[in-house]
Amino acid sequence: MARIIGVEIPPNKRIDIALRYVYGIGPSNAKEILAAANIDPSIRAKDLTEAQLSQIVHAIQEGKYVIEGDLRREIGLNLKRMQAIKCYRGVRHLRGLPVRGQRTQTNARTRKGPRRTVGVQRNPNAKTGIH
Protein backbone atom coordinates (compact mmCIF):
# COMPACT_ATOMS: atom_id res chain seq x y z
CA MET A 1 0.00 0.00 0.00
CA ALA A 2 1.49 3.25 -1.12
CA ARG A 3 0.32 6.45 0.44
CA ILE A 4 0.94 9.81 -1.16
CA ILE A 5 -0.08 13.02 0.56
CA GLY A 6 -2.17 11.53 3.33
CA VAL A 7 -4.94 9.30 2.13
CA GLU A 8 -4.30 8.31 -1.46
CA ILE A 9 -3.84 4.55 -1.88
CA PRO A 10 -3.29 3.60 -5.53
CA PRO A 11 -1.97 0.01 -5.71
CA ASN A 12 -1.33 -2.10 -8.86
CA LYS A 13 -1.38 0.66 -11.46
CA ARG A 14 1.46 2.45 -13.21
CA ILE A 15 2.56 5.37 -11.08
CA ASP A 16 1.57 7.96 -13.72
CA ILE A 17 -1.97 6.55 -13.64
CA ALA A 18 -2.03 6.02 -9.88
CA LEU A 19 -1.09 9.63 -9.18
CA ARG A 20 -4.29 10.75 -10.87
CA TYR A 21 -6.25 9.31 -7.96
CA VAL A 22 -5.15 12.37 -6.03
CA TYR A 23 -7.85 15.04 -6.37
CA GLY A 24 -6.34 17.83 -8.44
CA ILE A 25 -3.76 15.77 -10.32
CA GLY A 26 -4.66 14.84 -13.88
CA PRO A 27 -2.72 13.32 -16.76
CA SER A 28 -0.53 16.33 -17.49
CA ASN A 29 0.18 17.19 -13.85
CA ALA A 30 1.12 13.55 -13.16
CA LYS A 31 3.55 13.63 -16.07
CA GLU A 32 5.13 16.87 -14.86
CA ILE A 33 5.47 15.61 -11.31
CA LEU A 34 7.18 12.39 -12.38
CA ALA A 35 9.54 14.30 -14.66
CA ALA A 36 10.42 16.63 -11.78
CA ALA A 37 10.96 13.67 -9.43
CA ASN A 38 12.97 11.81 -12.09
CA ILE A 39 10.91 8.62 -11.89
CA ASP A 40 10.02 6.23 -14.70
CA PRO A 41 6.23 6.54 -15.18
CA SER A 42 5.86 2.85 -16.04
CA ILE A 43 6.78 1.57 -12.55
CA ARG A 44 3.88 0.06 -10.61
CA ALA A 45 2.90 2.08 -7.54
CA LYS A 46 3.61 -0.82 -5.16
CA ASP A 47 7.15 -1.26 -6.55
CA LEU A 48 8.23 2.23 -5.57
CA THR A 49 10.81 2.53 -2.84
CA GLU A 50 10.35 4.81 0.16
CA ALA A 51 12.92 7.20 -1.28
CA GLN A 52 11.07 7.42 -4.58
CA LEU A 53 7.78 8.05 -2.80
CA SER A 54 9.24 10.88 -0.80
CA GLN A 55 10.70 12.28 -4.03
CA ILE A 56 7.22 12.36 -5.54
CA VAL A 57 5.73 14.01 -2.46
CA HIS A 58 8.54 16.53 -2.56
CA ALA A 59 7.89 17.25 -6.24
CA ILE A 60 4.19 17.79 -5.54
CA GLN A 61 4.87 20.19 -2.70
CA GLU A 62 7.62 22.02 -4.56
CA GLY A 63 5.51 22.34 -7.70
CA LYS A 64 2.83 24.32 -5.86
CA TYR A 65 0.00 22.10 -7.01
CA VAL A 66 -3.27 22.83 -5.27
CA ILE A 67 -4.68 19.42 -4.43
CA GLU A 68 -7.25 17.61 -2.28
CA GLY A 69 -8.86 19.63 0.53
CA ASP A 70 -7.23 22.90 -0.45
CA LEU A 71 -8.51 22.60 -4.00
CA ARG A 72 -11.99 21.62 -2.84
CA ARG A 73 -12.03 24.60 -0.50
CA GLU A 74 -10.84 26.93 -3.23
CA ILE A 75 -13.61 25.79 -5.55
CA GLY A 76 -16.18 26.10 -2.77
CA LEU A 77 -15.04 29.62 -1.97
CA ASN A 78 -15.25 30.64 -5.61
CA LEU A 79 -18.82 29.35 -5.76
CA LYS A 80 -19.71 31.12 -2.55
CA ARG A 81 -18.23 34.38 -3.76
CA MET A 82 -20.18 34.25 -7.01
CA GLN A 83 -23.37 33.46 -5.15
CA ALA A 84 -22.78 36.20 -2.60
CA ILE A 85 -22.32 38.92 -5.20
CA LYS A 86 -25.35 37.69 -7.15
CA CYS A 87 -23.65 37.64 -10.50
CA TYR A 88 -25.18 35.67 -13.36
CA ARG A 89 -22.99 32.62 -12.86
CA GLY A 90 -23.71 32.62 -9.12
CA VAL A 91 -27.44 32.76 -9.73
CA ARG A 92 -27.25 29.82 -12.14
CA HIS A 93 -25.37 27.81 -9.54
CA LEU A 94 -27.99 28.65 -6.92
CA ARG A 95 -30.81 27.50 -9.17
CA GLY A 96 -29.01 24.35 -10.30
CA LEU A 97 -29.13 25.30 -13.96
CA PRO A 98 -26.33 25.20 -16.55
CA VAL A 99 -23.87 28.02 -15.98
CA ARG A 100 -22.18 28.39 -19.36
CA GLY A 101 -25.01 29.39 -21.62
CA GLN A 102 -26.29 25.96 -22.64
CA ARG A 103 -29.89 25.49 -23.68
CA THR A 104 -32.41 24.51 -21.05
CA GLN A 105 -35.58 24.00 -23.07
CA THR A 106 -34.41 20.43 -23.54
CA ASN A 107 -31.45 18.51 -22.15
CA ALA A 108 -29.42 20.07 -19.30
CA ARG A 109 -30.31 16.93 -17.32
CA THR A 110 -26.91 16.77 -15.64
CA ARG A 111 -27.59 20.04 -13.86
CA LYS A 112 -31.34 19.75 -13.48
CA GLY A 113 -31.38 16.15 -12.26
CA PRO A 114 -34.10 13.63 -13.02
CA ARG A 115 -37.17 14.88 -14.84
CA ARG A 116 -39.96 16.08 -12.58
CA THR A 117 -43.42 16.94 -13.75
CA VAL A 118 -44.43 20.27 -12.38
CA GLY A 119 -48.15 20.45 -11.76
CA VAL A 120 -49.85 23.79 -11.73
CA GLN A 121 -50.67 24.98 -8.25
CA ARG A 122 -54.01 26.61 -8.88
CA ASN A 123 -54.61 29.97 -7.39
CA PRO A 124 -57.33 29.33 -4.81
CA ASN A 125 -58.81 32.75 -5.51
CA ALA A 126 -58.97 32.23 -9.26
CA LYS A 127 -62.67 31.40 -9.33
CA THR A 128 -63.72 34.33 -7.22
CA GLY A 129 -61.78 36.66 -9.42
CA ILE A 130 -59.31 37.95 -6.82
CA HIS A 131 -55.71 37.78 -7.93
Binding site: C87, V118, Q121, P124
Partner: protein, 93 residues
Protein backbone atom coordinates in the same frame (compact mmCIF):
# COMPACT_ATOMS: atom_id res chain seq x y z
CA UNK B 1 -10.70 33.16 -25.46
CA UNK B 2 -9.73 35.72 -22.86
CA UNK B 3 -8.67 39.25 -23.53
CA UNK B 4 -4.97 39.99 -23.89
CA UNK B 5 -3.51 41.33 -20.63
CA UNK B 6 -1.48 43.85 -22.57
CA UNK B 7 -4.61 45.83 -23.34
CA UNK B 8 -5.79 46.06 -19.75
CA UNK B 9 -9.41 45.86 -18.65
CA UNK B 10 -12.07 47.23 -20.96
CA UNK B 11 -14.13 50.11 -19.63
CA UNK B 12 -16.31 52.15 -21.94
CA UNK B 13 -14.78 55.65 -22.23
CA UNK B 14 -18.00 57.52 -21.48
CA UNK B 15 -18.56 55.42 -18.37
CA UNK B 16 -14.99 56.07 -17.27
CA UNK B 17 -15.60 59.82 -17.55
CA UNK B 18 -18.76 59.56 -15.46
CA UNK B 19 -16.90 57.67 -12.76
CA UNK B 20 -14.09 60.20 -12.68
CA UNK B 21 -16.68 62.95 -12.29
CA UNK B 22 -18.54 61.12 -9.53
CA UNK B 23 -15.31 60.47 -7.66
CA UNK B 24 -14.34 64.11 -7.88
CA UNK B 25 -17.73 65.32 -6.68
CA UNK B 26 -17.83 62.51 -4.10
CA UNK B 27 -21.40 61.91 -5.16
CA UNK B 28 -23.09 58.64 -4.33
CA UNK B 29 -25.83 59.14 -6.87
CA UNK B 30 -26.34 56.08 -9.04
CA UNK B 31 -24.69 56.22 -12.45
CA UNK B 32 -27.02 55.28 -15.24
CA UNK B 33 -25.39 53.15 -17.88
CA UNK B 34 -26.14 50.91 -20.83
CA UNK B 35 -22.58 49.64 -20.91
CA UNK B 36 -23.04 46.10 -19.63
CA UNK B 37 -19.76 45.06 -21.22
CA UNK B 38 -17.56 47.29 -19.09
CA UNK B 39 -15.36 45.43 -16.66
CA UNK B 40 -15.53 46.47 -13.03
CA UNK B 41 -12.21 47.95 -11.96
CA UNK B 42 -11.19 48.91 -8.41
CA UNK B 43 -12.29 52.50 -9.18
CA UNK B 44 -15.90 51.31 -9.30
CA UNK B 45 -16.00 50.06 -5.70
CA UNK B 46 -18.48 51.88 -3.50
CA UNK B 47 -20.44 53.36 -6.38
CA UNK B 48 -23.92 52.40 -7.43
CA UNK B 49 -24.74 51.81 -11.08
CA UNK B 50 -28.07 51.59 -12.74
CA UNK B 51 -27.36 48.94 -15.33
CA UNK B 52 -29.74 48.53 -18.23
CA UNK B 53 -31.02 45.01 -18.86
CA UNK B 54 -32.75 45.82 -22.13
CA UNK B 55 -35.89 46.98 -20.40
CA UNK B 56 -35.21 48.61 -17.05
CA UNK B 57 -32.21 49.83 -15.08
CA UNK B 58 -31.21 47.56 -12.22
CA UNK B 59 -29.31 49.13 -9.34
CA UNK B 60 -25.94 47.45 -8.75
CA UNK B 61 -23.91 48.43 -5.72
CA UNK B 62 -20.31 47.50 -6.45
CA UNK B 63 -18.36 45.79 -3.72
CA UNK B 64 -14.74 44.72 -3.63
CA UNK B 65 -15.18 41.12 -4.72
CA UNK B 66 -17.11 42.15 -7.82
CA UNK B 67 -13.90 43.46 -9.37
CA UNK B 68 -13.07 41.65 -12.59
CA UNK B 69 -16.68 40.90 -13.48
CA UNK B 70 -18.71 42.83 -16.05
CA UNK B 71 -21.51 45.16 -15.07
CA UNK B 72 -23.95 43.12 -17.15
CA UNK B 73 -23.43 40.04 -15.01
CA UNK B 74 -25.34 41.74 -12.21
CA UNK B 75 -28.31 42.91 -14.21
CA UNK B 76 -30.18 39.84 -15.39
CA UNK B 77 -31.84 40.03 -18.78
CA UNK B 78 -34.29 37.18 -18.35
CA UNK B 79 -37.12 36.55 -15.96
CA UNK B 80 -37.04 33.26 -14.14
CA UNK B 81 -40.38 31.57 -14.83
CA UNK B 82 -42.10 29.37 -12.31
CA UNK B 83 -45.31 27.40 -12.44
CA UNK B 84 -48.37 28.06 -10.39
CA UNK B 85 -49.78 30.96 -8.47
CA UNK B 86 -47.43 33.53 -7.00
CA UNK B 87 -49.55 35.12 -4.35
CA UNK B 88 -47.97 36.29 -1.14
CA UNK B 89 -49.69 33.34 0.56
CA UNK B 90 -48.21 30.76 -1.83
CA UNK B 91 -44.73 32.25 -1.50
CA UNK B 92 -44.91 32.03 2.28
CA UNK B 93 -45.52 28.25 2.20
Amino acid sequence: MGRSIKKGPFVEAHLFDKIAKAKEAKSKAPIKTWSRRSMITPDFVGLTFNVHNGKVFNPVFVTENMVGHRLGEFSLTRTFKKHGAHTAKAEAK
